[in-house]
């Protein structure tokens, strides 16, 4: 690995000053499970690495009834699923963080880092989109908030400007009649990158028979994780049934624009979108009824 400087600021404004003062050779370190590999393999370069794990705002993980989930940008996958209240309140997010790498990776890798690495196949991003999560960004020009579905712009690229830092993600509070799920397809049981992935979030009516609101998001089938707007809109008012899930899967396929690569063909990935959308909707509805 080439040489770089290292800084571990303890205050957010100190981190912003460091990031603003340094050039474009500054890289942010949270869990390091992507950036350290990229620096070692020469895929990215760095003059300065800024470790953000000592800044309290970025390590906060807090669930509250009226505000929902506050997820500091450097919080590890493990802390999310180890908290039984959080895992039960946001099962679609818990599904994803339990399958990102093995235990060693989950001890360090953060959901904020998964978002900022902006891989099209990121497992944590579809659940964030399905939950209508908001990205809270701080930079030299102040703070701004962005819906997660607008965050990624291309493989490995996102809306963060020079000197900006993702501080936290917030997920809205969940009513008791809401449920969610994330599933990906991989050819083995563990430790692999998604061939395709889908997250579904639903809110049912009082009877539990009709869908009031739904949000579906997909991974590994486009240059960025995508929000399946049409499928989500169409689900409003539909009766919970296998036929409805299957039709939503067909609609979700229309936003998929996958590539052929060593993990799968475009045709296969598109097929998987239908299957995974249907299955995650079924699980989300089942969870919403509990």
């Amino acid at each position: 690995m080439i040489d770089f400087e290292y800084a571990a600021p303890t205050q957010l404004d100190e981190a912003i000053r460091l990031l603003a003062a340094a050039g474009d050779g500054t890289r942010i370190l949270a869990g390091g499970t992507d950036i350290i590999v990229q620096l070692r393999e020469g895929l990215r370069s760095a003059d300065l690495v800024v470790d953000i794990k000592k800044i309290s705002e970025l390590t906060q993980l807090k669930l509250s009834g009226d505000k929902g989930l506050h997820l500091g940008a450097s919080v590890s996958c493990r802390r999310i699923y180890d908290d039984q209240n959080i895992a039960a309140s946001y099962p679609g997010l818990a599904d994803a963080v339990r399958i990102i790498g093995g235990w060693q990776i989950q001890s360090r890798a953060s959901v904020g880092g998964n978002l900022c690495n902006s891989s099209p196949a990121a497992d944590a991003i579809p659940p964030l989109i399905a939950y209508s999560a908001t990205a809270h960004i701080a930079g030299p020009g102040g703070k701004r908030m962005v819906p997660v579905e607008e965050f990624c712009t291309a493989p490995g690229h996102n809306i963060l400007q020079q000197g900006e830092l993702l501080v936290a993600l917030t997920l809205p509070p969940q009513p008791s009649n809401a449920g969610s799920a994330y599933q990906r397809f991989i050819p083995r049981n563990e430790m692999d990158i998604a061939v395709a992935g889908a997250a579904s979030w639903v809110q049912l009516d009082q009877s539990g028979e009709r869908i009031e609101q739904a949000r579906i998001a997909l991974s590994a089938v486009a240059p960025t994780p995508v929000f399946a707007v049409d499928a989500s809109e169409w689900l409003k008012g539909q009766v919970v049934s296998e036929e409805v899930f299957a039709e939503a899967g067909e609609l979700a396929k229309r936003v998929a624009s996958p590539i052929d690569d060593m993990r799968g063909t475009a045709e296969y990935r598109t097929h998987l979108v239908g299957v995974l959308t249907k299955r995650t909707l079924a699980t989300a509805c089942q969870r919403a009824r509990k």
Partner: protein
Amino acid sequence: MKTHVTTTINGATVEFLCQPRQSLLAVLRDELSLTGCKEGCNNGNCGACTVMLDGLPVDSCLVLAVEAEGAEIETVEGIAEQGHLHPLQQCFLEGAALQCGICTPGFLVTAKALLEKNPQPSEQEIRFGLAGNLCRCTGYDKIVRAVQAASQASPES
């Protein structure tokens, strides 16, 4: 410029100097002569370099040594106590749960963490718990059986 780091390794305070680019794995092996942890893939896939960092198993190839400032580290060298093998080490030995041995230290560190969290894991829990450790001699069945044997041998069971 080298950075001064103070950390705790296997219960003892250890100080070292390192470059920011050096991984914890590189410092443990090359500077501190703790060569139990192995470099397999050096990109977080194989788990041969697993150590405990503040109570959690991590791939030490994906940790910068400078991040270890103030941290508690446990390596495979700290598993045996006062010359007595840990039940896991004894069961790996008796069950021949290794072939070339490169992956073994990583498996031992992760398996110990697994049994501390879940003293009586099912076979599936063992396989998922050890998913971040690869054995390319494909000796998984014997490894799983050794962990099962150790879970029955451990005093808390």
